[in-house]
Symmetry: C2
């Protein structure tokens, strides 16, 4: 995928307005699938569990939208992502007929989401962007998960912001508004960066600028919309390209 | 002030339980008074304002407890510290008969609290403590103030936690409980670090461990209780001494 021509980049005036970048995390900053599959296989080898760990990882992630939906519609009270991940994990262990794990082992595996590895450009790109902008997470991951992940992966956040602080999940508009408010900024001074177009469209609807960074390796087995789109303020192939286009 | 003898340090078992340190900021991490006085004097020189800027800085800080009290008792709705600082500043500009400042100049001076300089040991001490523990602010300063200050001063927080996230001010107990909850930890796994004994006593009352780091230069003109006290889990002369005592 080639970098966009310079003509399609944001105007200097629009860039100069941006004070902070807020980042989606799962899939945009970290490669959740590769890490979950790898740790699953390691666990499988050590405990003699012979299942398709790639299918397990996909099913775990696929359970997350429906689980959030149950909270949104009120059939469940507020749950952190750690709690949602555990609910889905318990269902999957039953469905995949995994019976060899103790409670501490299940709890530890549930926290694999705290130990996700970053995409190869993520730390270098964030480090460069941090010189010019406030760089903050803005994830449905809870604060504890994001803090632990940042320490694991070396993510140099200036602020760990989370849907948890709004008591709502993305793409609910309140999450973006709360993030701008906590940073003391107007929405137009903040750029949401994500590999997922729905997240960017929701951020744009409350006035955020948008940066699209597709991650073709996030779900190589799915048909995901990876095409650059002029509806976003910037499109970039990775975080280093994003830094270049933002003059950082 | 000498370091405590090793015999008075925490047991290894107690230290091993601690996963995160939460820090008071104004006075404990940063030297608010020296910075406010220096910026006041610079402003005074450039605008021809001849007042006692040390007295002004002290009055500004002294206005902060009574202002929080008005919010606590319900005579004011929730206000960020930026907003409280501005209310007090407006009163002081009238009291000190300062009339030479435009609205942008007043706004900029109000944000001097975002630009406070750290104590000389603060960045090196936090950097060292961060290798072993989660290091987080836990200040009455609002998130935006703390994020801007961290970028100004190079404070390497893993998480910027603030009373703002609890909608209450320290020393209200909810602030400490909310911080532990956001970090996914039990209160006993968190050590509050502060130069102010009231802050530590409140944290201890909800189960936090406590580290006292007196800052004799914070208010050299006031009679502050700077004495080490065995009621706290640790006493340290500065953040490097704290790191040493915590094995970081």
């Amino acid at each position: 995928m080639a970098s966009l021509p310079a003509a399609a980049a944001m105007s200097e005036a629009a860039v100069s307005e941006v004070k902070a970048l807020t980042f989606d995390v799962f899939g945009t900053v970290v490669d959740w699938r590769a890490t979950v599959v790898r740790e699953g296989r390691e666990l499988g080898r050590s405990k003699g569990i012979a299942i398709d760990w790639a299918a397990f990882a996909d099913a775990w992630r696929d359970g997350y939208g429906p689980a959030m939906h149950r909270v949104r519609t009120g059939s469940l009270g507020w749950k952190t992502i750690d709690e949602l991940h555990r609910m889905i994990l318990d269902e999957l262990l039953a469905r995949f007929q995994v019976e060899a794990l103790s409670e501490p082992e299940i709890d530890r595996f549930n926290r694999v989401w705290h130990r996700l590895d970053p995409w190869p450009d993520a730390v270098a790109g964030l480090t460069r962007l941090k010189r010019k902008f406030i760089v903050a997470s803005l994830s449905n991951g809870n604060v504890a998960l994001l803090v632990n992940m940042a320490k694991h992966a070396g993510l140099p956040w200036d602020a760990v912001l989370s849907s948890e602080l709004a008591g709502r999940y993305k793409p609910d508009r309140e999450v973006y508004r709360k993030a701008a408010d906590l940073l003391g900024l107007e929405p137009r001074q903040v750029m949401m960066v994500a590999a997922h177009k729905g997240d960017l469209r929701a951020a744009a609807s409350v006035g955020f600028k948008t940066g699209f960074v597709p991650r073709p390796q996030e779900r190589p087995n799915r048909d995901i919309d990876l095409a650059f789109d002029d509806a976003f303020d910037l499109n970039a192939v990775d975080f280093l390209d994003l830094a270049e286009k933002l003059g950082a």
